[in-house]
């Protein structure tokens, strides 16, 4: 039991994909103009990661080593396309706010990274847990960054007003604020990790 818990927990905090492994930076920076957008992107990525991890661990022994990368890419790209179609059909507003970053989930290094480092070596259930943990870790990181940017930029969190918008620093909603907010968050995480 302990082993399974560790796999799940590992992706959330000790090797959080954004703050510790520094993977998937494009989506992290590009879609976190608000906590809500960040959460949606996180969930979308987590869904694809979960599916691809499970399928890759199922077929791992059927894929010869030399063609494993193209095979993984095909599997990941199929899930991304299915997600794209589903979003278009049932959640068109999401498509408008995340835009090009939905197809770009394919090249999110987290997916190929987990496929190569974990799913291609472990069993189905372990891979499922790993995908779940890493997905949750990614989503939480995106919500945190999106939340920080939204509060500093517009005085709101998930659209609920904390302080009047006129006092917000608009910079944080724009591109430079994304880099700066993420930089400070990673520094804070580094500081905490060193002390405990």
């Amino acid at each position: 039991m302990k082993k399974y818990y560790d796999i799940l927990y590992n992706g959330i905090i000790p090797s959080n994909p954004v703050f510790v492994l520094l993977l998937g930076m494009c989506a992290t920076l590009g879609t976190t103009s608000s906590a809500h957008n960040g959460m949606m992107m996180g969930i979308a990525t987590a869904v694809v990661l979960l599916c691809s991890n499970v399928v890759i661990s199922m077929v791992k022994s059927l894929v010869p080593d030399k063609v494993r990368i193209p095979a993984f890419i095909v599997i990941i790209a199929s899930f991304v396309t299915m997600l794209q179609l589903a979003v278009n059909a049932w959640l068109p507003s999401l498509n408008a706010s995340l835009g090009i970053f939905i197809p770009l989930i394919v090249v999110n290094c987290i997916l190929l990274g987990r496929a190569e480092a974990f799913a291609s070596k472990n069993g189905i259930f372990e891979s499922f847990l790993d995908g779940l943990g890493t997905g949750i870790g990614f989503t939480l990181a995106l919500i945190l960054l999106g939340g920080v940017r939204e509060i500093l930029g517009t005085g709101k969190i998930f659209g609920a007003e904390i302080f009047p918008e006129d006092y917000g620093m608009l910079l944080f909603v724009l591109a430079p604020g994304a880099f700066i907010a993420l930089g400070y968050l990673i520094a804070i995480v580094n500081k905490i990790r060193k002390t405990c």
Binding site: S33, V59, K60, S61, L62, V63, P64, D65, K66, V67, P70, A71, V74, I75, A77, S78, T81, M82, L85, A86, N88, A89, W90, P92, G153, T154, G168, L170, V173, L174
Partner: protein, 200 residues
């Protein structure tokens, strides 16, 4: 199970079958989502027309009429209440936004008074230009365009000479583009009225 060795036939079979299965799954997913996707696009347009236009009992999309103003296409969706022109929803475009094009569905009453509007598409600066959806319906100061008639009120930002609408703070370019769309949409509606009058 033992891992398959990397021989050429193995590689081809393995990759080939993965691709075929993936392709089949995608084809299935496509056929499932095809209808909802088409419906979504249509429903969005219909909803926007119904929201901004006065009450109607015709099918504005069937009666649509197109014109070109300043090189942009404006589509008039006329609203008829028992064969009497009650106003229209006009889909207008401006290329003069801060970033990319701005598409607005503008609703007019029969006399040209602005009833409502919906910003359908824009890529303005988040937090500045993107406020246009709420700003121009805010009753504070002279921000709102709703209930005003471009014939009587000058639809220019108050910064510019003679303008009577307050633009968004720090987003004058976006505001100008929005008001330009409104003005041109109004023109398109007037033109439509004329062609209809001529027919009779």
């Amino acid at each position: 199970m033992k891992k398959l060795a990397s021989t050429l036939p193995n590689m081809i079979i393995s990759l080939g079958s993965i691709t075929v299965i993936a392709g089949a799954l995608l084809g299935w997913m496509y056929s499932v989502t095809k209808e909802p996707i088409a419906l979504q696009a249509q429903a969005q347009q219909q909803a926007a027309i119904a929201e901004v236009a006065p009450e109607f009992n015709n099918n504005p999309e069937e009666d649509k009429w197109e014109t070109t103003i300043d090189g942009n296409t404006f589509v008039v969706y006329p609203a008829y209440d028992n064969d009497k022109l009650a106003g229209a929803a006009v889909k207008g475009v401006s290329m003069n936004g801060f970033a990319g094009e701005i598409v607005v569905m503008c609703g007019f009453e029969a006399d040209g008074t602005v009833k409502d509007y919906r910003v359908l598409q824009q890529a303005e600066t988040p937090g500045l230009g993107t406020k246009m959806e709420l700003w121009f319906r805010d009753p504070a100061g002279a921000r709102s365009v709703i209930g005003k008639n471009p014939d009587k009120t000058s639809f220019y930002v108050s910064k510019d000479a003679g303008g009577e609408i307050d633009g968004i703070t720090a987003a004058t370019i976006s505001s100008r583009a929005f008001l330009e769309t409104m003005r041109n949409a109004f023109e398109a509606y007037r033109e439509y009225e004329k062609t209809q009058a001529a027919k009779k």
